[in-house]
Symmetry: C2
Subunit: 135 residues, 2 copies
C-alpha cells in the first residue's frame, strides 16, 4: 500500500521514504515536522527536509500554515492531484484551540466565492474553534 502510493507518484522506493510515509498514514490529523521526527528512530535532518519537499511537490502530502508560526503536514486525499502547493480537492482545515490538532475536513458543499475582476484559481478555507472531541 505504501509502495503503491510512492510508485503512483513516480517516486523511488527507499527505506526512508517508506518510513516517513508510514508516519503520515498512521496519523489521522495533520502533523508538525517535530512530530515526524519524534516518530522516527534515527534519521538525517536534511534528508527529512528533502523527503518532505519531494512529497509536497509530488502531491503526496500538503502543507497547512496558520498565523502564529503553525506549520503542519497532512496526507493528500487520493483524488488530490496536487502539484506545488495547489491541491485540487476541496476540504477545509480546522484548528482546535483546545487540543491544537489540525483536521482536514471534507465539506459537502464548498462555498462559491466571486470577486469582481479577480480570477480565482483555488480557495483555501481555514477554521478555528473547538473540535468534536473537545467540545
Amino acid at each position: 500500500m505504501i509502495e503503491k502510493l510512492l510508485k503512483s507518484k513516480k517516486l523511488r522506493l527507499t527505506p526512508f521514504r517508506k518510513e516517513v510515509l508510514e508516519v503520515f498514514i498512521n496519523e489521522p490529523n495533520a502533523i508538525a515536522l517535530g512530530d515526524i521526527e519524534a516518530r522516527l528512530k534515527q534519521f538525517d535532518r536534511i534528508t527529512l527536509y528533502r523527503t518532505i519537499k519531494s512529497f509536497i511537490e509530488n502531491g503526496l502530502i500538503h502543507e497547512i500554515v496558520m498565523p502564529g508560526d503553525i506549520k503542519k503536514l497532512a496526507l493528500c486525499p487520493d483524488e488530490c492531484s496536487s502539484v506545488n502547493h495547489v491541491h485540487t480537492t476541496q476540504h477545509i482545515h480546522f484548528r482546535c484551540k483546545m487540543c491544537e490538532n489540525i483536521f482536514c475536513l471534507d465539506l459537502h458543499e464548498f462555498p462559491e466565492i466571486n470577486i469582481p475582476r479577480f480570477k480565482i484559481d483555488s480557495i483555501e478555507i481555514q477554521g478555528t474553534g473547538t473540535c468534536n472531541i473537545c467540545s
Copy 2:
C-alpha cells in the same frame, strides 16, 4: 492620525513605532518583513520584530501566511478588534500568482460554513489566482 491609531491601542508613542506604522499606512496591500525593512532608513532588527509582534497582539496589523513560506503583514481594518491572531472582520486574502501581491478584500456575503459537532469561532479564506490588474 498615526498617533491616534497607536493611542487607540494603548501603545506608547515612540518615533520608531510611528515610522513602522507609517509604512503600513502608505502600503495598500500586505507587505513582507523585508519590504518594511527596505522602507526604513536604519533600524534595529530585534526592535522591529518586537514592534511587529506588539502590533499584531494589539490588533493593529494581522499576519497572513500561505503555503510555500509566504508570510506577509497588513493593516487591520478599523472595525477589527483583533487580539492574538483572531481577527473579527470578514475579509479574504487573495494572492495573485502574477504579481505576487496579497490583497485583503472585503466580501459582501461571507459564506456560512457548518461542520457537524465542530464549533467554529472564526473562518479565514485565502484565494489564489490573478488580480484585477494582472488579468
